[in-house]
């Protein structure tokens, strides 16, 4: 009995890990990168208090943060074909995760932008810099350092949230595990196994995060 389980676990390990490396990680990396870019733009629009765009950003954040990620996935993947928009599972997951992450990270970055002492912006104007130059060279670098730990947490959350993509037929780690389980019916062992692999991924990211934080120790402070 135990020998059978051990054999199943050993055989299934690479079968689960490979989609982890080929689907879960690329999905997370792509969605997080795009989401980060969305977040910076959305945060800057709010920080600059650009009239109409600012309202649009607030609306975007309100809707995305106020609805479940799973519902967002279903609306885009199962809902949009009704109006003739068909997107393949993987790109669909990338879009939904990116848009979702963008809303959360935008708030993180906006808070960090507001924590940068305002006098530096005035000083930037006084040496002749433009708003864009001041943001790019002075304010954003400081804000991103402040936001780094929170963004790291969000990245780790996203690794785990990608398991939701199984619901829109992306054959990532969790869906693969479900399929293996339907053959052998060892739910306890197999779901513990996939949980362990998620834990490994998260552990690596946590290590990278604390390394990053050390490297980014405040300017001039050790």
């Amino acid at each position: 009995m135990t020998e059978r389980i051990i054999n199943i676990l050993i055989q299934s390990f690479p079968k689960i890990l490979v989609p982890g490396l080929l689907k879960t990680i690329p999905l997370t990396a792509l969605a997080f990168s795009i989401g980060f870019c969305i977040a910076v733009v959305v945060a800057l629009i709010q920080f600059a208090e650009i009239p109409v765009l600012r309202q649009v950003c607030r609306f975007y954040i309100w809707v995305i943060r106020g609805t479940p990620l799973l519902v967002q996935l279903f609306v885009i993947f199962y809902g949009l074909p009704r109006v003739g928009i068909l997107i393949d599972p993987f790109p669909c997951a990338v879009i939904v995760f990116a848009v979702n992450e963008g809303a959360y990270a935008a708030e993180t970055i906006r808070g960090a932008l507001e924590s940068v002492p305002h006098g530096q912006i005035e000083a930037g104007y006084c040496v002749g810099m433009s708003w864009v130059q001041i943001m790019y060279r002075i304010v954003l670098p400081q804000a991103l350092r402040t936001a780094f730990p929170t963004l790291g947490n969000e990245l780790i959350s996203m690794v785990k949230d990608t398991s939701l993509a199984a619901n829109i037929t992306v054959t990532e780690m969790f869906m693969t595990t479900q399929r293996i389980n339907s053959v052998y019916y060892e739910p306890l062992a197999l779901y513990l196994e996939v949980g362990f692999i998620y834990l490994m991924f998260s552990t690596v990211l946590t290590k990278l995060q604390s390394l990053g934080e050390k490297r980014l120790a405040s300017y001039g402070k050790r």
């Binding site: 006098g119 006084c126 002749g128 300017y219």
Partner: protein, 249 residues
Amino acid sequence: MPMLEIKNLRKSFDGLDVLKGISLSVEKGDVISILGPSGGGKTTFLRCVNFLEKADGGEMVFDGRHIDLARVSGREMREVRMKTGFVFQNYNLFLNKTALQNVTEGLVTARRMEKAKAESLAMAALDKVGLAERASYYPVQLSGGQQQRVAIARALVTEPEIIYFDEPTSALDPELTGEVLSVMRDLAREGQTLLVVTHEIGFARNVSSRVCFIEGGVMVESAPVEEFFGAPKEARTRAFIQAITSKEV
């Protein structure tokens, strides 16, 4: 023709008139101290002159160029700021940049100067304020007086027509004000045009060529330094001078 002329500058915050039509004329090489009680509008005046606050009305003639202060465009603001320097009460150094990078930033980013050239100019500026050996330090590693001297280097490196100082020593320990004031005195001696909002009566008396007294949003008196301290015209100015000099005793 004066290098900088401000005419009838007006500014209010939420219906409260902070500046009620202030005029000032600055010649090249002038060192002008602006004195007056706190809340009188000195700082607001200086901030309006460099567009950190938007004036409600008034005119500026700078370097032969005419500007309507209530309708100044972004481009005009930037063009004027390219020729001026500003030193803040709280230094406002860029915290993510070293002392050297703080000084080169305006040259490299705003003026598109080559990095090597900017760095040699910046080192000369830091040397002038006595901080060449601190070039690689970040602001948090510097004392208040050192930070303010870096801020002065940042302002003077662009060779501005005029440098504005907004209470440059007010945030400093008495021990540290001396090093900042002596840098300012050196600048004045070299003929740099300065407009200084200050509470340092000694600086006003010994370094400036002209002294203005602003109170209640009005320019109460503006006179050459000997006249201002020796024979002030306005009773209010006399009372103010008496109050601050008796404090020194």
